[in-house]
């Protein structure tokens, strides 16, 4: 039984395969949320469910399985797990975090600081793109799970300073926008290596059985690097846009209130 998607070295097949470990993982997150994370009223449950769906799409067949064959699929997983799903999951937990006791609130506020978030996310992002790490971990289910889990943790760290409830936030809207923009900069390095390297970086994807004859490892690596910036960055820019419009609306309401006084 294969529990988690990993690089098997077996010829690729489009035949569906079951990965019960993924279902258990998603089910466990849903259970924990239902038991501890949800609050009555509000839209938190919907946000959390949307985040879980994205996470499931990233981890299960076919994208999860393709992540063992193609660097570009691996990057697609990264975008969903580290960039797209975490803000939705955190929006689902936002109200519960706002109700946290003093002790919990203290470390949630600490984590909402830009420095730990920047360091935490980027150490994970850069570390999990080192060729030796990818080649070494992706060949086992446990190693592949570790990478996926690290991406999720990194993504939660990335988004928390922006999504945290107002009482726990340490960044004003302009700083939050600047923070998100700065977070997109370090990914330039792995993306550039993927796009411009003379030869494929990852042994795993260079030697993996072909999914499509014309899709060479070098092309696959280049697509992976481009996806990281062309698709990954806009996901963060959406966050910047949301912060901007919420800020603008808040300012407008303030102005209206002042004018009506």
């Amino acid at each position: 039984m294969t529990w988690w998607c990993a690089a098997t070295g077996q010829p690729w097949s489009w035949a569906w395969r079951a990965y019960p470990g993924v279902w258990l993982f998603i089910g466990l997150l849903a259970l924990l949320y239902w038991r501890f994370g949800r609050t009555t009223g509000g839209t938190g449950s919907r946000w959390f469910a949307a985040g879980l769906v994205l996470l499931w799409l990233a981890l299960d067949w076919p994208l999860g399985a393709l992540g063992g064959y193609l660097a570009s699929a691996h990057t697609g997983q990264y975008i969903l797990i580290a960039l797209a799903a975490p803000p939705l999951l955190l929006l689902g937990l936002r109200d519960r975090a706002a109700q946290a006791g003093a002790g919990a609130a203290r470390w949630l506020r600490t984590l909402a600081g830009p420095v730990p978030a920047f360091l935490g996310y980027n150490l994970i992002m850069l570390g999990t793109h080192v060729p030796e790490v990818v080649d070494g971990l992706m060949v086992s289910q446990l190693g592949s799970f570790a990478i996926d889990l690290l991406w999720l943790i990194g993504g939660l760290m990335l988004w928390w300073p922006v999504v945290a409830p107002p009482a726990l936030q340490r960044l004003s809207p302009p700083l939050a926008m600047a923070y998100l923009f700065i977070q997109t900069i370090p990914a330039i390095f792995p993306a550039a290596f993927l796009v411009f390297a003379d030869y494929p970086l990852y042994r795993l994807y260079e030697l993996a059985p072909r999914v499509s004859e014309g899709y060479t490892p070098r092309y696959d690596h280049q697509v992976a690097g481009l996806l990281m910036k062309i698709v990954g960055d806009p996901v963060v820019w959406i966050g910047i846009g949301v912060v901007f419009f919420r800020w603008a609306n808040a300012e407008r309401r303030k102005d209206l209130a002042a004018a009506g006084r």
């Binding site: 070295g9 077996q10 010829p11 690729w12 097949s13 035949a15 003379d198 030869y199 494929p200 042994r203 260079e206 030697l207 993996a208 059985p209 072909r210 004859e213 014309g214 060479t216 490892p217 070098r218």
Partner: protein, 200 residues
């Protein structure tokens, strides 16, 4: 899809030393315990002409690989990695050596199939075929285990040696490259192989 079984070089006598294969100095390939002479065998080109391997490649760096086009993993990856490097070489440098692919599946690898398949990797790769007896003789001459089918029906797989044999300009093989040799390794080694053991 059926699982593919491919024999690796480790199973071959040429690289079974007590301490295991060793890298050939600054090359990424493995040193052979003893240099082996360029083999003599005769096959057929995709154009239908006779090809005397020893005579036609004498004095030239020659990369020799046995495989088949329906191979789902080793053959396309090996040829793609070699082709990714040879396609980048200046044409003058590319003309200094030969890459030869010998099919181990002559029934399915017709010239019409093999030619376009090889051209995807490098248009200069020489494809060879022959009768079952000729192909077996070629593999024996090259000192590798003779390929065989896993069954004779349907979409069968072919067990075959997975290494690239490298014959130097001195008409001997000193080094071989197992499956898993990367593009960067070929890129670094091909220029060295052109002059190594050449008297240049």
């Amino acid at each position: 899809m059926k699982r593919v079984w491919v024999m690796t070089l480790a199973a071959l006598s040429g690289c079974q030393g007590k301490a295991g294969p060793e890298l050939a100095g600054d090359l990424s390939g493995f040193a052979l315990p003893e240099a082996t002479a360029r083999p003599a065998f005769s096959l057929t080109t995709l154009a239908g002409d006779s090809f005397d391997f020893r005579a036609r490649t004498a004095g030239r760096l020659t990369l020799l690989f046995f495989g088949y086009t329906n191979c789902p993993d080793v053959c396309p990856a090996t040829m793609a990695n070699i082709g990714a490097v040879t396609n980048r070489l200046p044409s003058a440098e590319r003309r200094e050596f030969d890459v030869i692919f010998v099919t181990t599946d002559p029934d399915r690898d017709t010239p019409e199939r093999l030619g376009p398949w090889l051209a995807k990797f490098d248009r200069e790769i020489i494809g060879l075929t022959g009768s079952a007896a000729q192909l077996e003789a070629a593999q024996r001459a090259a000192g590798i285990t003779v390929a065989f089918r896993d069954d004779s029906t349907g979409n069968y797989n072919v067990f075959h040696a997975a290494q690239v044999l490298v014959y130097s300009p001195d008409d001997s093989a000193h080094v071989m490259y197992p499956f898993g040799t990367r593009q960067a390794e070929w890129g670094a080694d091909l220029p060295k192989l052109l002059t190594r053991w050449s008297g240049r």
